[in-house]
């Protein structure tokens, strides 16, 4: 088949997945938060309010799109694109099963990090272009967020690369097949400090509580998206949820065996693999949302201090410890 056609079809699949995730996750967020908070959440629109998000999207689509006079018009329109496209591109390298990868490249992990580091740029553009003080402060905070999370996140993913010996996400998933200590699945999640560090850095990356500083409803009204209305706001919101999905999916890929089912050979999970992957990812999302419903927000200087004085030294130390343990392991049982 024509490579262009394949590319377009795969683009549509990724887009469809992203939209599906957006709709499902917003509903899920409202439901999870409601249940955590002794409420019911959406109930009336559709069975258990399932169509709530559909109505929300349709309403946003038919809402007037206000462009305030003072905004930088070009950037104001461009910002949703800059936020949306990288978020969509990151779907390319996620392995949904052994063969379901849009772009299976040996540098998948780096590609993901590279693409996702563009997102804050879009948010910065959105906040700056709005010419609104709340948006502007939110935009400046997102830069602080990027300064905080990126180095610890790269370092926290390093032990995984060392153990798998590859930066291809498919290879990393494959390296987590089988078991160790007779019973435990060979998940890198058992490298617990790496997982914890990665998870905290990822919370900062995706701007979730306690690090939701750029949106910070009680401080900055609606943060960077204060001036955005109708579908432009919808797209920014969608991209935000997409980032949460991506972060959860990457955590599953790096630490929880990706699409694999523990104790079952990869040959037997061909068709259920994407489902397994999605289920694992949504469990991760549930945790992120549960944290969102529970914790207060950290202050911006405390976030930077946490990133540089706790996460970074800890991640550096853990890289060394992992390296040492791997070498000792190799010395004891020989190279894998």
């Amino acid at each position: 088949m024509n490579a262009w056609l394949i590319a377009v079809l795969r683009f549509l699949a990724a887009l469809g997945l992203m939209l599906f995730n957006g709709v499902v996750m917003i509903y899920m967020l409202r439901k999870v938060l409601a249940r955590l908070h002794v409420r019911l959440g959406p109930m009336d629109n559709g069975p258990h309010g399932m169509f709530q998000t559909v109505f929300d999207v349709l309403k946003l689509l038919t809402k007037e799109d206000v462009t305030p006079r003072a905004v930088d018009k070009a950037l104001f329109f461009l910002a949703p694109v800059i936020v949306f496209v990288p978020s969509l591109m990151a779907y390319m390298v996620l392995p949904f099963s052994r063969t379901w990868v849009i772009l299976d490249v040996p540098y998948g992990l780096l590609f993901y990090f590279a693409v996702m580091s563009v997102v804050p740029l879009g948010i910065l553009a959105a906040g700056w272009a709005s010419n609104n003080k709340w948006s502007f402060i939110g935009a400046m905070r997102i830069v602080g967020q990027q300064v905080t999370y990126e180095v610890p996140m790269l370092l926290a993913a390093l032990p995984v690369v060392m153990m798998a010996g590859s930066m291809s996400l498919s290879d990393i998933v494959r390296a987590q097949s089988g078991t160790f200590l007779w019973i435990l699945p060979r998940w890198f999640a058992f490298n617990v400090p790496a997982l914890v560090l990665f998870f905290i850095a990822g919370l900062i990356e995706s701007g979730q509580t306690p690090f939701d500083l750029a949106e910070a409803e009680s401080e900055l009204v609606a943060g960077f998206s204060t001036e955005y209305s109708a579908m432009k706001f919808g797209l920014l919101y969608l991209a935000e949820f997409s980032n949460v999905f991506l972060f959860s999916a990457l955590t599953v890929t790096l630490f929880f065996g990706g699409w694999q089912v523990p104790w079952v050979s990869a040959d037997h999970v061909q068709w259920v693999a994407p489902i397994v992957f999605m289920v694992k990812t949504y469990i991760g999302i549930f945790f992120i949302f549960a944290i969102r419903g529970t914790l207060p927000r950290i202050r911006v200087d405390q976030m930077l201090a946490t990133g540089w004085k706790v996460l970074l030294p800890a991640a550096l130390a853990w890289v060394m410890v992992t390296g040492f343990v791997i070498k000792v392991g190799q010395a004891l049982v020989g190279p894998r």
Binding site: H37, I137, V221, P296, R299
Partner: protein
């Protein structure tokens, strides 16, 4: 009284002193001697260090400015009255009592006086062009006239769009030298307090365009200003360089309208002043009225007042605790506590017939007796609440992020807290052990057993901790009230249309926000001549305002949250 006379004589201030039973010693000094007299009273062995309230009374010929002072050392109340002619100059006393900052502005504006020597002499509550509402010459309109106004059509475009904005009416603040132009006597301040001088720099024209400072409006519509508080912050990065609180967006003349209401109907207005703890405001008014009219309240009514008051206190603290969580970014506490608030409101509704605006405590007693269903509900609630309050304590107060956000933020030491007129949990959070329920017992509080929680740190966290403990103590008192509820009438025999004799009285209660006082002047008719509502939240607000410089935006939000502001009460 004799001590005060001696002090004033030594200071060479001519004063007439009388003792009003329901008020304390009342000194009358001339307006030129007022500052001298206040300094003398503060620095003498009377140690009158606390300005309870500052307000005016229009006597018909002139305006009496009333300085209500308190000496914690001698546990005495002292009222200084100064007569000012209409339109004359009111000399600021903020350098003697910083607590006077906002009340002075309000008084000057509502009585049409000039304010001199004040660091920020702008209007506080109303916009430019409003008449001095509290003058007696301005009569509240009759129903017919009001109907005319109701049918008036207002063109939306004619609204002054710059009204209340910075551009309109921002005077060059200028640092007012304490008393420099007014009085040659240098005034030694006991301790330098952080003085709010409004915005340091007047943002006007060219200046602001080329500045690297942001001037940010926080409010009136902002998710975390709890109503319509507006903070103007001058920011350097995220750090606040200077800040000013702008209020008056909910000013609706409770004090003025009370002058046209019967005694039994004033509660309707007071409920809507402090709208989350109506019982307390009603109670303060009832206490003042009873003092003037000499009404003896039955014991059962006193117990019911305590019972409802403490229930209301928990409900009020919940509306502080939940939003405090929201301010710091945690959604959980808000929704968990509102579960309890619903139960309390159910109980209150059962007894009083309303969820929020009770008008339940009236002069002479209370309106309804407690119902049997309510009693059962209260018992069930207390059992449940004991668990919930511990949960909430862990959920927010035990959270490391919350602790990091609140400890060491917005610290008031003892002197600052007293200087700014803080009362209630804010004062106790700064280590001052003062609770009107225990130290000036009213209703049945002298028969109840309770502890007064005090914290020494004076930061946001300390205030939170004090309030949480107060909720536990309230639950304890409610149980005592329910167990020991005496038999008898729930109200004294009071005339339908109450006409207390001419007189003056001050009734104060410990509301959830602090000392809620009603200073009542009666002229023998069926409605008050003047009703002053001492708003604890106003004093808390000006203290919070003074603390803003140096904080980050996020800190400002939790600081204002911890002051427990109810804007209905601040603006009245």
């Amino acid at each position: 009284m004799t001590v005060a006379r001696g002090v004033l004589e030594r200071a060479a201030v001519a004063a007439s002193i009388e003792t009003v039973e329901s008020l304390g010693a009342v000194c009358r000094v001339s307006s030129s001697d007022a500052r001298k007299a206040l300094v003398a009273l503060r620095d003498s062995d009377l140690a009158v260090g606390f300005l309870v309230d500052l307000f005016g009374i229009d006597t018909g010929e002139a305006v009496d400015i009333v300085y209500h002072l308190r000496s914690f050392a001698r546990d005495e109340e002292l009222v200084v009255k100064v007569e000012h002619g209409y339109g004359s100059t009111l000399e600021s006393v903020w350098d003697i009592f910083p607590a006077a900052l906002m009340p002075e502005r309000e008084t000057a504006e509502l009585f049409g006086l000039e304010l001199a020597g004040h660091p920020n002499p702008k209007r506080l509550l109303t916009t430019d062009g409003c008449p001095p509402y509290l003058r007696k010459s301005l009569v509240v309109r009759s129903a017919e006239e009001v109907r005319d106004r109701a049918s008036q059509h207002v063109d939306a475009t004619s609204l002054d769009r710059t009204a209340g904005s910075l551009a309109g009416g921002f005077a060059e603040p200028g640092v007012a030298e304490p008393g420099a132009s007014l009085d040659a006597t240098p005034i030694p301040a006991p301790k330098p307090l952080p003085v709010p001088r409004g915005l340091k720099r007047a943002p006007s024209g060219v200046d602001i365009e080329n500045s690297d400072r942001l001037v940010l409006n926080m409010g009136p519509q902002h998710p975390s200003t709890h109503g319509v508080l507006r903070l103007i912050l001058e920011l350097d990065g995220e750090e606040i360089v200077s800040g000013e609180a702008v209020i008056g967006y909910l000013h609706r003349g409770i004090e003025k309208l009370a002058e046209s209401r019967r005694y039994s109907a004033v509660g309707t207005l007071l409920d809507r002043g402090d709208y989350v703890s109506g019982i307390h405001a009603e109670l303060a008014f009832a206490l003042a009225t009873e003092k003037i009219a000499g009404i003896e309240v039955p014991r059962r009514a006193n117990y019911l007042r305590c019972l409802l008051g403490e229930l209301n206190r928990i409900a009020s603290h919940i509306t502080w605790y939940g939003p405090m969580g929201l301010d710091s970014g945690a959604m959980g506490p808000f929704l968990y506590t509102f579960r309890d608030r619903e139960t309390i409101l159910d109980i209150l509704e059962d007894i009083t017939g309303q969820r929020m605006m009770f008008n339940y405590v009236r002069p002479g007693g209370v309106v309804n007796d407690i119902t049997t269903t309510a009693e059962a509900k209260i018992r069930a609630f207390l059992d449940e609440f004991a668990v919930h309050v511990d949960e909430n304590d862990e959920l927010l107060m035990g959270n490391e992020i919350f602790q990091a956000r609140t400890q060491g933020i917005g610290v008031f030491d003892r002197e600052t807290a007293l200087g700014f007129g803080l009362t209630g949990a804010c004062l106790r959070g700064s280590g001052v052990d003062w609770d009107i329920r225990r130290d000036r017992p009213y209703a049945a509080y002298d028969e109840l057993e309770f502890d007064v929680p005090v914290a020494e740190e004076g930061d946001v966290y300390a205030r939170c901790a004090v309030r949480l403990e107060e909720m536990r103590q309230s639950a304890r008192m409610i149980r005592q009230c329910i167990e020991g509820l005496p038999e008898g009438e729930h109200t004294a025999k009071v005339a339908k249309v109450l006409r207390p004799p001419a007189g003056e009285a001050y009734g104060a209660v410990e509301s959830p926000r602090g000392e809620l006082g009603v200073h009542l002047v009666s002229d023998g008719t069926d409605s008050p001549y003047r009703m002053r509502y001492r708003p604890p939240a106003l004093y808390a607000l000006q203290a919070g305002e003074a603390m803003l410089p140096g904080l980050l935006i996020a800190d400002a939000v939790v600081l204002m949250g911890s002051m427990d502001l109810i804007l209905g009460e601040v603006d009245r």
